[in-house]
Amino acid sequence: MVSKIIAMQIITVTNQNQKEIVITQPDHYQIDLVDPGVEVNISGKFLVTGKQEVNLEVIIHHKAAHTKAQTNFKGVVDDQGYLRILGRIIIDKNCPDTNSFLEERILLLSDQARAETIPDLEIKSDDVKCSHAAAISHINHQQLFYLQSRGIALKQAQNLIVDGFLEN
């Protein structure tokens, strides 16, 4: 089997630098938490339309004790788009009191839209709180009906729901 060589963008989180990482370009990222006590918020929002195929891979690597990470990815897929989100939390040995949460939510707008979520955990310390959640769903018909019954056109109602989904 030939494995592809992938250029990985490495972001190192230390005591000095950013607490907030916003990912705008789908790519391969590795986010290293190297200093004890650092906290980081990672987020990203993606809209996939037409025949686009989007692949995002993010590794959140806890290399020090007392580190915290909160990761949220959201995606909306329309037409014949394809969105794949791989998120992995790795907690090294001897990293007690680590806290990490990973969330991947995808909203599918058309019947040909496809999505794949892979939230992985690799935990080698015991004093950790670590969890992940992934959800793939479509627009709730009741919500659409409610908005349409107020005189809002279907397309506009969809847009409102998508905006709401991406916002909170």
Binding site: P119, I123, S131, A133
Partner: protein, 475 residues
């Protein structure tokens, strides 16, 4: 790919661990036949000849052997590099024939199963029993009531002899030989296992049980099970596994195929308690038709490496699949377990609940896949994986994968990893409970909702096994 982390597990040290209660064994010199170590077309031919099998089965075996030799070892999951394939005996026949009276069972075999408590369970709680000793089923029974209803419960070899058409129609259709390396290995040297057929609208209220025992060292056990649950029928099938504590490893590689017809229900329970040097590499799959339900309850406590992902193919409207999986990984063990749900039809639903406990340097992994096809509108799936890490030497992983090919779906995944909370322990200990008992209570509570799904006798046994594993876990 980096997705699959380094394959390191701690070494299992037999002297440091507590006594394994099923560790006894008996000599094999009275065996009817033992094949020489290693695998070759000759071994397969001889085995097939001894079993007096039809021509097509021999062809099937030889083709599978070819495929087995061509397929690569899986490069993911547990560490299989230590398996010495050429050292195993691929066919061990303990007795000449299967018997239906307990009195005719050879003494040593009888003693083994009496120690494990099979005859007593058969009298009180089971509808039928099969006991497999190394490669062959040595004893089998089915209560008269179910026989009258037309229920068939035979060893796979008997099934092939008595119902060749039914077997030929289903055998290897769900898990073809080329599915994976170990399915191919099983297809070429399979022996024993169960053949179950439940006729239309028959509700078998008591469970059927097969008991698997490896008795000799360096043994390969390759049972093959085929279960057909016809329309509207209902069955609960249980398997249990143990082995003696030899220093050389043994290999257990089973294939289980289940067909659940329209409106039927099947529950398949595994209580796996192999000795900690057994490789347990199993392929299990169920084909679920309209309005039918398949439930896998999978308890993994023993073995050195387990790789097992029971699957449901939800092929009919409103089909339902459920997997309840529990794994306990102790020193030297890697439990790589999980589930697969393949949604092909509209309105199908599935749920996977996995609970794992890692202790003393053990590693428990959840590996699962949820696939929702383009025609599976209004499908629902929920996955919940909870892991408990008891010390800093141990390791826990979660490798889920959701593949969704249409928009009318609801797919959810949740996983969490934690240790036993200090506050939980403090609360219990402040009520005068010792630390060890408090830990046992937390662990038992952690797996309680899974154990509740078992028949009462097994639930009690399961709690006892977990307590036994937890004993002395306080430094």
């Amino acid at each position: 790919m980096s997705r699959f982390a380094k394959k390191n597990t701690t070494k299992f040290n037999p002297t440091a661990t507590k006594k394994y209660q099923h560790g006894f064994s008996y000599p094999t010199d009275k065996y009817a036949f033992i094949s020489n170590p290693g695998l070759s077309p000759e071994v397969v031919k001889e085995l097939s000849k001894m079993k007096k099998e039809p021509e097509w089965m021999l062809d099937f075996r030889l083709k599978a052997l070819d495929i087995y030799r061509q397929l690569p070892m899986p490069n993911w999951g547990g560490d299989l590099s230590q398996i010495e394939f050429e050292k195993y005996h691929y066919y061990l026949k303990p007795t000449d024939d299967q018997v239906s009276s307990w009195d005719d069972v050879p003494d040593e075999v009888k003693k083994t199963f009496e120690k494990i408590g099979i005859p007593e369970a058969e009298r009180t709680t089971l509808a039928g029993v099969k006991t497999q000793y190394d490669s062959e089923v040595v004893y089998g029974s089915l209560k008269k009531t179910w026989e009258k209803e037309g229920v068939i419960f035979l060893s796979m070899d008997e099934g092939l002899a008595k119902y060749p058409d039914l077997v030929k129609e289903h055998f290897g259709k769900l898990i073809p030989s080329g599915d994976n390396k170990f399915a191919a290995l099983n297809s070429s040297v399979w022996s024993g296992g169960s053949f179950v057929y439940v006729p239309k609208n028959v509700n078998v209220k008591m469970p059927l049980q097969t008991y698997f025992r490896i008795n000799s060292s360096s043994a390969g056990q390759f049972e093959r099970t085929l279960i057909i649950v016809d329309e509207g029928a209902n069955i609960h099938y249980i398997e249990g596994c143990t082995a003696p504590n030899f220093s050389s490893s043994s290999l257990h590689s089973a294939v289980v195929e289940i067909f659940v017809r329209k409106g039927a229900k099947c529950q398949y329970t595994t209580v796996q308690n192999w000795y900690k040097n057994i490789y347990n590499l199993v392929t299990k799959r169920a084909y679920v038709e309209e309005d039918a339900t398949m439930v896998w309850t999978d308890f993994n406590m023993g073995s050195k490496v387990t790789m097992k992902y029971p699957s449901c193919i939800l092929a009919g409207r409103r089909a339902r699949g459920e997997t309840l999986s529990m794994a306990l990984a102790s020193s030297g063990q890697h439990q790589d377990t999980g589930a697969k749900m393949i949604h092909l039809a509209p309105d199908t639903s599935s749920s996977i609940i996995s609970k794992s406990i890692s202790k003393d340097g053990g590693r428990a992994s959840y590996r699962g896949m949820v696939h929702v096809g383009p025609k599976a509108f209004n499908s629902k799936n929920t996955v919940v994986c909870d892991a408990l890490l008891l010390d800093s030497k141990s390791r826990s992983d979660t490798y889920p994968m959701d593949k969704i090919f249409n928009s009318q779906v609801e797919v959810q995944h949740e996983a969490s990893v934690s240790k036993i909370g200090e506050d939980q322990l403090f609360y219990l200990m402040s009520r005068g409970i010792s630390e060890e008992n408090a830990k046992k209570m937390v662990v038992n509570g952690f797996v309680a909702d899974l154990i509740r799904k078992l028949p009462l006798e097994y639930a009690v046994e399961m709690n006892r096994l977990i307590d036994y594993e937890m004993e002395g876990s306080i430094g």
